[in-house]
C-alpha cells in the first residue's frame, strides 16, 4: 500500500471512529443531535431543553472519554514503537521495562496508604512507573551494547515491583482497597474527567512532539549501538531522550486509564506491516492507528449489552491471537 493512501485511510478511520464513539453507548445520540450540540457549544449558546441531556452526556462524559482514548492509544503505541526501536526487538513493549508493575505498585500505594481519589492514584502510578524505568536505566545502562543488560534489568525491576505490588494487595483491606486495586489494574476509561484529559494532553503532547522531532534518528538506534555511533549519534544521550519521553507518555496513559495490555505490541506490528520500518512514517502512523484501536475497543467495551467490562480483557482477547497470526505470517519474511 502506498504510504500516502495509508495515511488518508487511517485518518478517515479516526474521524469515523470519533463520530461512532460520540454517538454510541448506553445513551444513544443521533448524528443530527450530535451536530446540533457541537454547533451550539462552538457558537456559545445554551442548549434548548430537548438538547440538555445529550449535551450533558456529550460534554461531561463522552467527549473526555473519547479524547482520553485517542491520547492514550497514541501514547501507548508510540511508546511501543520507540521501545522496540531502541531495544531492536519487535516483541519488546514498555511493560518489559517495568512501566506497568511500577504503575500498579504506585496505584496500590495510593489506594492503601494515601487516597483513593483519581488524582492521587494517577499521580502515584505515574511517579512509580517513571521511577521503575529510571531504576532499570541505572542498573542496566552499561555503555556500548547495553540492550541485553537493560532487558535483564527490566525483568529484575519488574519482578521487584510485582512482588511489592503483591505484598500491598496481601495487606489491603479485602472489601474496599483490594477490589479497587484489582479493578484499576484491569484498566478502563470509565472514570475519565476533563482534568485527566488536560493533564494527559500536556504530558503526551510534549512527549509525542519530542519523539516526532527526533523520529528519523530512531532508525539508526534500531540498527545497532556501534553502527549508530559510527554514523555520528551520541547513543547514550539519544537513548536517554527516547526512553525518557516514551516512558513519560506511556506512564501518562497508564496512570489515567490503568493497565491496558497489548495495545502497544499490536499497533506497532500492524503499523510496521503497513508502512514499513522507517520511523519517519512509522511514528505518526502508529500514533493514529493506536488512537483508532483504543477508541474503537473502548466504544465496544462500553456498549456491550451486559454492561461495561474492563478494556484489557478485550484488548488481550484480540491481541494475543492477532499477534500469534502476525508472527506466523511474518516469520518467513524476517528470516529472509
Amino acid at each position: 500500500m502506498k504510504k500516502n493512501s495509508a495515511f488518508v485511510i487511517i485518518t478517515i478511520l479516526l474521524i469515523l471512529c470519533i463520530i461512532f464513539a460520540l454517538t454510541t453507548g448506553q445513551y444513544h445520540i443521533r448524528l443530527d443531535t450530535l451536530w446540533k450540540v457541537v454547533s451550539l457549544k462552538f457558537s456559545g449558546k445554551t442548549p434548548t431543553d430537548n438538547l440538555a441531556t445529550p449535551s450533558m452526556v456529550l460534554w461531561s462524559v463522552r467527549m473526555p472519554r473519547v479524547l482520553m482514548a485517542v491520547l492514550a492509544g497514541a501514547a501507548l503505541s508510540v511508546g511501543g514503537v520507540v521501545f522496540q526501536g531502541i531495544m531492536r526487538n519487535p516483541l519488546v513493549s514498555p511493560s518489559f521495562l517495568g512501566v506497568n508493575h511500577g504503575a500498579i505498585f504506585g496505584a496500590s500505594l495510593s489506594i492503601i496508604f494515601f487516597s483513593k481519589s483519581a488524582f492521587s492514584i494517577e499521580s502515584f502510578a505515574f511517579f512509580w512507573a517513571v521511577a521503575a524505568v529510571a531504576l532499570v536505566y541505572l542498573i542496566g545502562n552499561r555503555g556500548v551494547n547495553t540492550i541485553t543488560t537493560l532487558v535483564i534489568a527490566g525483568v529484575i525491576v519488574s519482578t521487584f515491583f510485582m512482588a511489592a505490588g503483591s505484598f500491598l494487595k496481601y495487606i489491603a483491606d479485602p472489601y474496599e482497597e483490594l477490589p479497587a486495586i484489582v479493578y484499576w489494574t484491569m484498566g478502563g476509561l470509565n472514570n475519565i474527567l476533563w482534568a485527566n484529559v488536560r493533564r494527559a494532553f500536556v504530558i503526551i503532547g510534549i512527549g509525542i512532539t519530542v519523539i516526532y522531532i527526533f523520529r528519523w534518528r530512531l532508525n539508526l538506534m534500531a540498527i545497532g549501538d556501534e553502527e549508530a555511533m559510527s554514523m555520528g549519534v551520541n547513543v547514550n544521550r539519544s537513548r536517554i531522550i527516547y526512553m525518557l519521553f516514551a516512558t513519560l507518555i506511556v506512564a501518562a496513559g497508564s496512570s489515567s486509564c490503568g493497565i491496558i495490555m497489548w495495545v502497544d505490541l499490536i499497533v506497532a506490528h500492524i503499523s510496521r506491516m503497513v508502512v514499513g520500518s522507517d520511523h519517519d512514517v512509522l511514528i505518526p502512523f502508529a500514533a493514529i492507528l493506536g488512537a483508532v484501536f483504543l477508541l474503537f475497543t473502548d466504544t465496544i467495551v462500553r456498549s456491550l449489552p451486559g454492561g461495561e467490562i474492563p478494556i484489557s480483557i478485550i484488548t488481550s482477547f484480540m491481541g494475543a491471537p492477532l499477534l500469534g497470526y502476525l508472527l506466523i505470517k511474518q516469520n518467513n519474511e524476517w528470516k529472509g
Binding site: 526501536g85 531492536r88 526487538n89 519487535p90 556500548v144 522531532i213 527526533f214 523520529r215 528519523w216 534518528r217 532508525n219 539508526l220 534500531a222 540498527i223 545497532g224 556501534e226 553502527e227 555511533m229 559510527s230 554514523m231 555520528g232 549519534v233 551520541n234 510496521r272 514499513g276 520500518s277 522507517d278 519517519d280 519474511e333 524476517w334 529472509g336
Partner: protein, 264 residues
C-alpha cells in the same frame, strides 16, 4: 614517533586493555592520504580492536590517535563521523529497512538538529547507489540481499557519509571467491576516485598483497612489521605473525602468491 603533517591518521603508542588482558600493546603507525592500508594478523591479534579504537567505539588507554592532526579523544561523535566511515564485517538487522534507507543513515551527521534527511539528501543517496550500479536495489529490503550485496550497500552507505577515511573490518571474509575480488576491486576503484584513505583488516595475505600499498602486521596486540607493501611483504614477516612456515611463489607473469611452506 613524530607525526608528520602529511599523515591523515596517526596512531601514537596506544594500549588497550579488556579487564586484565592487554589487547593492544604500544601500537604506533601512520597512514598518508590515499593509502589502502591493510591490517594483517591471526585471529585475536587485535585488528578489530584497533579499528574500534580508531573509530573511538573503544577508548585507548595510553597514547593518542590523531585524525588530520586533531586529537581523536577531543572530537564529538558527529565530528568523528565526518572524518571516518565504517564498513562492518557483516551487518544483520532486526527491522526490514530498505537499501535506500540504510544508505541515507550514513548522512546522519549532516542532517541538522532533528536529523531528518531532505529531498536533496535522498537524491544524493540514490546517486551513490547508481554510481555503484545498485540503483535497482534502492527499494529492496536490506535483509533480503545476499552477503555480497549487503556489503556493497554498506560501502554505499560509507560513501554517502562523505568521510575521508574508510575503515573496513574483514569486509570479504564471508564472501565467495568471486565476490571477494568484486568487493576489493570496488574498494580500490572508489579509494582512487574519491581520494579516500582506507584501513582494512584482512585474513588473506594474497588479497592484502595485491590491493594494499601499506601493511601493518599484528600479533598478540603488538605491531610486528609495518611499512610500504613492497618493504614488508615477504615470507619472514608473514611467518612472524602467523607462526608457520610460509613461502612466496611467482606466477609466469610475476604475480606473487603466498602458500604454506609444506604445500608443493
Amino acid at each position: 614517533m613524530t607525526t608528520q603533517n602529511a599523515d591523515i591518521l596517526a596512531v601514537e603508542h596506544i594500549d588497550f586493555r579488556y579487564r586484565e588482558k592487554k589487547i593492544l600493546k604500544d601500537v604506533s603507525f601512520s597512514v598518508t592520504p590515499g593509502d589502502i592500508c591493510g591490517l594483517l594478523g591471526p585471529n585475536g591479534s587485535g585488528k578489530t580492536t584497533l579499528l574500534k579504537c580508531i573509530n573511538r567505539i573503544l577508548s585507548n588507554e595510553n597514547g593518542m590517535i590523531r585524525i588530520k592532526g586533531h586529537d581523536l579523544s577531543k572530537l564529538s561523535r558527529k565530528e568523528i563521523a565526518g572524518l571516518i566511515a565504517v564498513v562492518p564485517q557483516e551487518l544483520n538487522i532486526m527491522f526490514p529497512f530498505t537499501v535506500l534507507q540504510m544508505v541515507l543513515m550514513g548522512g546522519n551527521g549532516r542532517f541538522g538538529f532533528s536529523g531528518i534527511p531532505g529531498r536533496n539528501d535522498i537524491s544524493d543517496a540514490m546517486e551513490v547507489l547508481v554510481e555503484l550500479n545498485m540503483g535497482h536495489f534502492a527499494k529492496r529490503r536490506y535483509n533480503q540481499l545476499s552477503s555480497g550485496e549487503k556489503q556493497m550497500a554498506l560501502i554505499a552507505r560509507a560513501l554517502f557519509q562523505r568521510a575521508e577515511i574508510m575503515l573496513l573490518d574483514e569486509p570479504i571474509s564471508h564472501l565467495d571467491f568471486k565476490r571477494q575480488y568484486t568487493i576489493m576491486e570496488l574498494i580500490k576503484r572508489i579509494s582512487a576516485d574519491k581520494n579516500l584513505t582506507t584501513v582494512i583488516t584482512l585474513h588473506d595475505p594474497n588479497i592484502a598483497g595485491r590491493y594494499c600499498n601499506r601493511l601493518i602486521m599484528l600479533n598478540e596486540g603488538r605491531i610486528v612489521h609495518q611499512g610500504l607493501r613492497d618493504n614488508v611483504f615477504h615470507a619472514e614477516s608473514l611467518e612472524a605473525i602467523y607462526d608457520m612456515r610460509i613461502k612466496i611463489e611467482y606466477t609466469d607473469t610475476g604475480t606473487e602468491y603466498v602458500l604454506p611452506h609444506h604445500i608443493q
